[in-house]
């Protein structure tokens, strides 16, 4: 920094110190606004990525006839109720289709302490079959499909403090309900995936069929499974089948087969598209939030103008003294713009703290509600653009009071005369 630049910065710094209260209040309002803008944009982007790309190792969900979105929300995100069940035969048929790399049956409808219990099979945890997004066992082992054993998602284990060896009692329904008689023993805990899988309790699907009070209607009539009696495939039913394909071409074929030509089942494919459509539909909410936050930022910026412009009146004499000492009009204007930019910079820096705070709170809420984890440290363009825009906006706001400083006349504003 040159000596002259330093002297201008010294002037700006001292002025900010002299007006510490208004500087702090203005910087605080800018920090809140910029933090909010960054948080809205970053949460929006991270949520979209998490819900559309990173949430599941599967390509499609097959379920009862109904809404694709409901199907995805229920079976992938565990947020909705099941639209109905599919007969076991449909699962077997789709599993046998060439090009289907994996078809995993899902049976839902119970919970343990508010966390959904999912009946499935051990292939759900087969990384070779499903790829890198497959949930991995962190402690213990995968359940034995013939026993009453359970595997807990990482979030469930953390929240309930259940460990390998703990006994659990599923309850009927996805939220509350009467407790089933069956005991399940926890035999494994999954490593965190930062996806909805972390919020599930996994048991063998056979266990779900045999849970007391459960009725199977796959054969058209009600069937209650009896102890030591093999359940005929004809009566079995599943809530959904999660599918992974060898190629997208099969997705097109199945889409045509189930959604366009069929009447009994719905294929949600690709899962990312279904969720992207949801985000597109909710996009207006993001835009409104961003607009409100941006307006808050503008109001904050306007307060820079107000505080500096008001201060100009009492600073006219000080500025006239500086002019008399040899300061040029442009230098004084530069000082005012520097002050405005500095206030905005303080606001932008404070904005990071606000951003981090909002992200931490949002992360906990989103994780508790969906299992998806936001990363406050993750980079996003808004983290650079918003502060830069704010500083530029702040400097621009300094132009009006700077113009007032420019117009200070030594002879008029210095006084008194003799």
């Amino acid at each position: 920094m040159s000596a002259r630049s330093y002297s201008l910065w010294l002037l700006a710094r001292r002025s900010l110190r002299q007006h510490a209260l208004s500087t702090s209040v203005t910087a605080l309002s800018l920090a809140l606004a910029s933090g909010l803008v960054m948080a809205v944009l970053a949460i929006g982007a991270q949520s979209r990525t998490a819900f559309t790309i990173e949430s599941t190792p599967f390509d499609a969900v097959l379920g009862a006839r109904g809404s694709q979105l409901q199907l995805v929300l229920n079976s992938v995100f565990h947020l909705e109720t099941s639209p109905g069940n599919l007969p076991w035969s449909t699962y077997e048929e789709v599993r046998a289709r060439p090009g289907v790399r994996a078809a995993i049956p899902y049976a839902v409808g119970d919970n343990w302490r508010g966390f959904r219990v999912v009946g499935t099979d051990a292939r759900m945890f087969d990384a070779q079959l499903l790829g890198t997004r497959t949930p991995r066992i962190a402690r213990g082992r995968i359940f034995d499909e013939t026993l009453r054993e359970a595997v807990l998602g990482s979030f469930v284990a953390a929240r309930t403090l259940a460990r390998v060896g703990s006994a659990i009692h599923p309850s009927h329904g996805v939220d509350e309900g009467h407790e089933h008689d069956e005991d399940y023993v926890v035999v494994g805990v999954l490593a965190p995936t930062n996806t909805p899988l972390d919020r599930c309790v996994w048991i063998p699907i056979e266990g779900m069929f045999r849970m007391g009070g459960h009725v199977l209607r796959g054969g058209g009539e009600e069937y209650h499974a009896e102890h030591d009696e093999e359940i005929p495939d004809a009566v079995k039913e599943v809530s959904a089948v999660l599918l992974a394909f060898d190629s997208p071409q099969l997705g097109l074929e199945l889409d045509r087969e189930f959604n366009k030509n069929g009447k009994d089942a719905t294929l949600a494919w690709p899962i990312a598209r279904v969720m992207a459509e949801l985000f597109d539909k909710l996009g207006w909410m993001d835009r409104v939030l961003t607009l409100v936050a941006a307006l808050t930022m503008l109001v904050g910026a306007a307060s820079i103008v107000a505080s500096l412009y008001d201060a100009m009146h009492q600073r006219r004499r000080e500025l006239a003294i500086l002019r008399a000492l040899g300061a040029r009009r442009g230098q004084l204007s530069t000082v005012i713009v520097l002050e405005a930019a500095a206030i905005a910079t303080f606001g932008a820096l404070g904005g990071f703290a606000v951003y981090a705070s909002i992200l931490l709170v949002a992360r906990d809420i989103l994780r508790a509600e969906t299992g998806i984890v936001l990363d406050p440290a993750a980079g996003h363009a808004s983290l650079a653009l918003v502060p830069l825009c704010l500083v530029a906006l702040g400097a621009a706001c300094g132009v009006i009071p700077a113009w007032k400083a420019y117009r200070v006349e030594v002879a008029r504003d210095l006084g008194p005369t003799s």
């Binding site: 000596a3 002297s7 001292r14 110190r17 000492l325 210095l414």
Partner: protein, 229 residues
């Protein structure tokens, strides 16, 4: 022949009154100061003393005439050039000292040098030591007595080693003892720095201490005609 520090020739300055009439404030046919010379300019309020100092310092441009200071015709320079020139060549002691309130004594003095080039912090410290304020370098103006503020103002006027120091009623706010001390300080430090000194004052106790005294009522023909400054 010694080159003059200050030469005014046929300087005139006027303002437009609110009713549109032209008011002549200054009409000075000539005024000259030699290097190191100390001159008092006497005149009652309203005779254009401050306007004359502003014209000499290049704060305002005269309507006519030439104002040569240290060989430069200030009246011909544009405003930015006059500002830069003033910072380098003229020291100004204001009637009310006009120290900057948010700045320490040392910063008040050093800041004046920043507009003339690189900050002369060492010289600012030296001058403050010379005026007995070495122990008050970090004091803000409101923590200093009136006499101490005056000394800071004198040090500030001299920090750029100007060839000309202008003082506008430099003892106006001081009691008798402080006024004497301040004037002696101003004169001594100007002498030590070989700077010419032009003091305007309506206080006879100040004026009578100078060997050369000019009467503004006579020097300024506009004042002689009774115009209001």
């Amino acid at each position: 022949m010694t080159r003059l520090v200050l030469e005014l020739a046929d300087v005139r300055k006027g303002y437009a009154a609110p009713d549109g009439a032209r008011i002549e404030v200054l009409d000075v046919p000539e005024l000259a100061l030699a290097p190191g010379e100390q001159v008092a300019l006497r005149g009652p309020s309203g005779t254009g003393k401050t306007t004359l100092l502003h014209v000499i310092a290049g704060i305002v441009r005269p309507d006519a005439g030439s104002v040569r200071v240290a060989g430069e015709d200030v009246a011909r320079l544009d405003e930015a050039a006059r500002d830069a020139w003033r910072a380098r060549h003229v020291g100004y002691v204001f009637q009310t000292f006009n120290l900057l309130h948010g700045f320490s004594a040392l910063e008040n003095v050093a800041l004046a040098s920043m507009f003339a080039g690189p900050a002369k912090v060492g010289r600012a410290r030296e001058l403050l030591e010379r005026v007995g304020l070495l122990g008050r370098l970090d004091y803000l103006p409101h923590k200093l007595s009136i006499g101490q503020q005056q000394r800071v103002a004198v040090a500030r006027a001299l920090v750029n080693a100007p060839q000309l120091v202008l003082a506008d009623e430099p003892t106006g706010n001081l009691d008798r003892d402080n006024a004497n001390a301040a004037l002696a300080l101003l004169r001594d430090t100007c002498r030590e720095n070989d700077a010419a000194l032009l003091v305007v004052s309506h206080d006879e106790r100040v004026v009578e201490r100078f060997e050369r005294v000019l009467d503004l009522a006579t020097l300024n023909r506009a004042a002689a005609l009774g115009a209001k400054a």
